[in-house]
């Protein structure tokens, strides 16, 4: 872990129904380059809302998210030349890969087309170069022979591995995972977790919402425990698992472990 702050989250709030529901209630945390931050907590505690706020899939009610020295929750910022400039969220999202519980592959496109679409259309990468890159990434997750298949022809575990490498095509600086193994049959969880583990070992910054406590403990190097929209405890996963301080965390762990 370095001290290089990649994402700074300051006093982030997300309210629904005019504040009746506080999905995020004043959350502040720094994410450093190379961090593998795992987020745990009971259902409805705001884990997804937290993760989805980071790339503004969810628009926060209040607070700041500093990415590359820009508060991306605002409409504009003052650039280096001292001029007011619009925040282009699409630009920042390219640098934040996201993996969903339900994969969300594009069903009308082949695996290869799924992977090269955004690089070609968004980054204007030449088609051949994108294809080459996609095939290399597919080989890395053992799916090079499925390049021309459609998503429907793949198993859940294969789909999720494709979803991960599809996000990697954009060369993100951070990868966001929202319960990536929750929709999988038990026998397919392992293959996805091992891809994620390999990704973590390669130095990728990751934020992972998960119910896989084994993975959280083994792969995570920092952990957040959330409840009712707040971060109740944070620290090294092994310490939190072995020596939880907050009664809610103790209670939560006694139920899931």
């Amino acid at each position: 872990m370095t001290n290089d702050k990649l994402l700074q989250i300051k006093n982030l709030k997300k309210y629904y129904n005019k504040g009746a529901i506080k999905a995020l209630d004043d959350v502040s945390i720094d994410i450093h380059r190379g961090d593998v931050m795992v987020v745990i907590g009971p259902s409805g505690s705001g884990k997804s809302t937290f993760l989805r706020s980071l790339n503004l899939m969810e628009e926060p009610t209040d607070g700041q998210i500093i990415f590359h020295n820009i508060d991306i929750t605002k409409k504009s910022f003052i650039n280096k030349a001292g001029k007011k400039e619009k925040v282009n969220i699409n630009l920042h999202r390219q640098k934040m890969g996201m993996v969903f519980q339900h994969f969300n592959l594009f069903p009308h496109k082949t695996i290869l087309q799924n992977m090269i679409l955004a690089p070609v259309k968004v980054l204007k990468m030449p088609q051949e170069q994108a294809t080459e890159k996609a095939l290399a990434l597919l080989a890395r997750v053992g799916l090079e022979d499925r390049a021309n298949a459609y998503p429907i022809q793949l198993s859940g575990g294969q789909k999720q591995r494709v979803a991960i490498v599809r996000a990697l095509m954009m060369e993100p600086e951070v990868m966001l995972f929202d319960e990536p193994t929750s929709a999988l049959d038990p026998e397919m969880v392992g293959e996805v977790l091992s891809v994620m583990k390999e990704l973590a070992n390669s130095g990728m910054t990751m934020v992972v919402v998960t119910h896989e406590m084994g993975f959280a403990r083994e792969v995570g190097n920092s952990m957040l425990f959330m409840d009712e929209g707040k971060i109740l405890e944070q620290g090294d996963p092994k310490e939190l698992f072995d020596n939880p301080q907050h009664p809610r965390l103790q209670d939560f762990l006694s139920k899931v472990l």
């Binding site: 890969g97 069903p107 009308h108 955004a118 429907i152 599809r166």
Partner: protein, 270 residues
């Protein structure tokens, strides 16, 4: 020829009647061609208009949004203000258009377009296409039919777009794609595939409905029928010929599109 006498139309079906009808084969051919041109132009205009209207109805443009917020950006308690703040003029216009066109007869719409809009407001240069299609009748006819089917296609397209899982948009946007790129590359291809049967159905409806343009003098198939009827005092034979032609246009079209739809859906199911 029959001054002072009532014209007696022959309601019987005779071989002679068919023979007389086929003497006008040139007129009937032109009518068929016109009908096909009407339907093709209409479906293109209707489809473009339908996509535009569907996008308008789905915009998130709320210029009065600020009314909902008081000091410090807090949402006001005043319900009326909050309700007004949600007003979307673009969506309102599109919705009004769709509802009005779907709730009035196409015959009335054609008359208004022909006599009102193109008769008074807009002057169409008068020219002849393909040697017989008169622009000052064909264009109002196509515009009226296109405007009408645009309203129906808007609703078909909108339901198609809304049937696509929200996760698709999220995945595309999370890869940095813009709203427009997401619509063009992810949402529309899937939506259009889903609604192809409904669009095909609309195309067949347009072929049949285009017959109404004979009331403003478009020389389509029905125009040919009335011409033959009037010249020969026969009723049934030209109508039967028209029936056969309409059937031969519509039935294979719907079968053909159903075939392509089956083939297309094979790609991602297997």
């Amino acid at each position: 020829m029959c001054i002072g006498k009532e014209i007696i139309m022959n309601n019987f079906i005779t071989a002679e009647g068919f023979e007389k009808t086929f003497r006008y084969i040139k007129l009937i051919e032109q009518g068929i061609f016109t009908t096909i041109m009407l339907a093709l132009f209409t479906v293109v205009i209707g489809f473009i208009l339908g996509i535009l209207l569907a996008i308008m109805r789905m915009t998130d443009f709320r210029p009065l949004r600020f009314l909902a917020y008081g000091k410090k950006g807090r949402i006001r308690n005043n319900r009326a203000l909050v309700a007004i703040s949600k007003f979307n003029p673009i969506a309102f216009l599109a919705t009004a258009y769709v509802e009005i066109l779907r709730s009035t007869p196409v015959l009335v719409q054609i008359m208004i377009i022909y006599h009102g809009v193109f008769g008074k407001l807009i002057e169409i240069p008068s020219f002849t296409m393909f040697g017989f299609l008169k622009s000052n009748r064909f264009i109002p006819g196509v515009v009226a039919l296109g405007m009408n089917s645009g309203a129906y296609l808007c609703e078909i397209i909108r339901s198609g777009i809304q049937s696509i899982d929200g996760g698709q948009t999220e995945a595309a946007r999370s890869l940095g794609m813009t709203k427009v790129q997401t619509l063009v590359h992810i949402i529309l291809p899937q939506a259009i595939k889903n609604i192809l049967p409904a669009i095909a159905n609309e195309f067949v409806v347009i072929i049949k409905e285009s017959s109404i343009t004979y009331t403003i003098g478009v020389q389509d198939l029905m125009f040919a029928v009335t011409a033959v009827q009037g010249a020969n005092y026969i009723v049934m034979e030209p109508l039967l010929v028209a029936t056969a032609v309409y059937f031969c246009l519509c039935f294979p079209t719907s079968k053909l599109i159903a075939y392509f739809e089956r083939r297309m859906s094979r790609g991602d199911k297997r």
